[in-house]
């Protein structure tokens, strides 16, 4: 099975789910002639059509990355999500240094340059954002700042 066929199948299922979701939308008695359901249904129908075309006529297989690259991207995803969750509680400097070092290491497997990138970026960006642009960032965890 080619990637496009699987993708087409996902699209078809998504379009059906979207259509079902559109049927559930509550309308009020004061609605206009079209109402809030019709446009989403039109979108679902067009997407369904596109999905079917993809299943019928898939393109050539794209070049998917090797397993190791998928692993790296999964790690990157975890790093980014943790960064999003930790930037508040941990403060800007630590979380940014860790996340930037992580992303850097994933692109070029060099611990030294990655660590330097992390440290450098977190300091430079903090100074630019906080003092240059005047954003309200916290350098350290808020608990420390009293």
């Amino acid at each position: 099975m080619s990637s496009d066929r699987i993708f087409g199948l996902v699209v078809v299922m998504g379009a059906l789910a979207f259509f079902a979701g559109a049927l559930q939308i509550q309308t009020s008695f004061l609605s206009d002639p079209v109402g809030p359901r019709v446009f989403p249904m039109l979108i679902a129908a067009s997407a369904l059509l596109c999905g079917l075309v993809l299943i019928a006529k898939p393109d050539a297989e794209p070049e998917w990355p090797a397993l190791a690259a998928w692993g790296n991207m999964a790690i990157a995803l975890v790093v980014l999500v943790s960064y999003a969750l930790l930037i508040g509680p941990m403060g800007f400097l630590t979380s940014t240094a860790l996340a930037a070092a992580g992303v850097s290491y994933l692109i070029e497997k060099n611990a030294r340059t990655a660590a330097l990138t992390g440290l450098g970026l977190s300091l430079v960006l903090f100074v630019i954002f906080k003092y240059g642009l005047g954003l309200g960032l916290f350098a350290f965890p808020r608990a420390w700042m009293g």
């Binding site: 509550q26 991207m73 980014l80 969750l85 692109i107 070029e108």
Partner: protein
Amino acid sequence: MDTLANLALGFSVALTPYTLFLAICGCFLGTIIGALPGLGPSNGVAILIPLAFALGLDATQALVLLTSVYYGTMYGGRISSILLNIPGDEPAMMTTLDGYPMAKQGRAGDALVISGVASFMGSFLSTIGLVIMAPLLASIAYLFGPAEYFALYLLAFCTLGGVASKNQAKAALAACLGLGIAMIGLDNSTGMPRFTGGNLHLSDGIDFLVAIVGMFAISEVFIFIESHGRNSALGVTLGKISIPWKDLKNTFGTMMRSTGIGFVAGVLPGAGASLGSFMAYMAEKGYVGSSGYFGKGDPRGVAAPEAGNNAAAGGAMVPMLTLGVPGSGTTAVMLALLLTLNITPGPLLFKDHPDVVWGLIASMFIANVVLLIMNVPMVKLFVKVLLVPAWVLMPMVTMVSFVGIFSLTGSYFDMILMIFFGALGYLLRKLDVPTVPVILGILLGSEMEDALRRAMVLSDGDWSYLFSSPIAIGLWVAAIGGFLAPLFLRGKLGKPIPVSDTTLDQD
């Protein structure tokens, strides 16, 4: 002269010291962003929008800053095309064809100067075109009712899908995905939630800036991780830069012709700068005929795509400002900026906010002059930027994106959503599904639905109202034609393949 008075007003807004300072900063940043491989007009402008808000700039200043960045990226993209054979951004793709061979023949400096001057001609003349065309189109746009607007939005999606992508089904799908995402949130007229799944974060809808930054900037990070960064060693040496007067004189005609073609390509909805440079190059190649040596370092092959893509960038502003329909990915991002500033583009913009529109246009003229100065005598400064390795650049892009969204919305949910859009954007790009229609769908979705529903209110539910005026019928015909025509033309128009280079095949 009405136009001249308006322009004078524009310059009086744009020439205040602070605005001028912002324009210069924007040009500088834009050239750098354009030159860096992996950062182009759309993602460069996208990550700077949240920051422009965080700075507390007013509408005119934010527009001036980001338009300068936009124009700057159009100039900067050529630098890495010529020196590295890697387009700095997508519109600069065609510039690699002759730019890199010229650089290999030791004429890198000449190629940079010619392309810089071509960029200037293209964007300066197209800005004049904008001054003439925009008020005309704005006066026509008064005739547009909801039925016409619905057809116009459809036209934008169809031509974007038809012209700019390889597979119609995928482009249409991308548009549906964007429109579907736009439906999330409270319905405008009934106030009922749609597709929120009971999640309160979603009842406001998905912020298009979150989607844009995710799709354009975060997905780039995944691309870089997959490819382990691209080899960006300078393969050619750049000597002393002098001005090749003879080449400039010989390519003057090329620049003029390409500017015309590029401007028209830019004005057409959905086509944009990449198409402008492609058409300009192909047309020039055909015009010169067998006496040219295109693909082997012909200066005309450098001048044509650069004049073409910069002219298209100016042309793309015409439908964006007058109709609210962007002509390309970057103008879609600029539209996002306008909407966030609570400015609705369209004919009323010219009447209600003349200071904003004409200030913007005046700042385009200023940006072009600044960019010419930066990009011809000072080009060596920007060449240094190419030495920034991917393992510094990409973490920086990520962090700037996060801080931008964080300072704009202050919500963890939005940052997670941005990462989601990044991953989605990566998958879509791998599957060859264009991401620009997704963004356009998110931006225009509720406008398009409103147009349809208002049309149906006017006609009391009669669907034939959508085809009731000559303008609407014309737009429908153009939409269907624009979507279907490439199916038949695709076999005949192949894109030329850039020269391969052994040092670049390592990833």
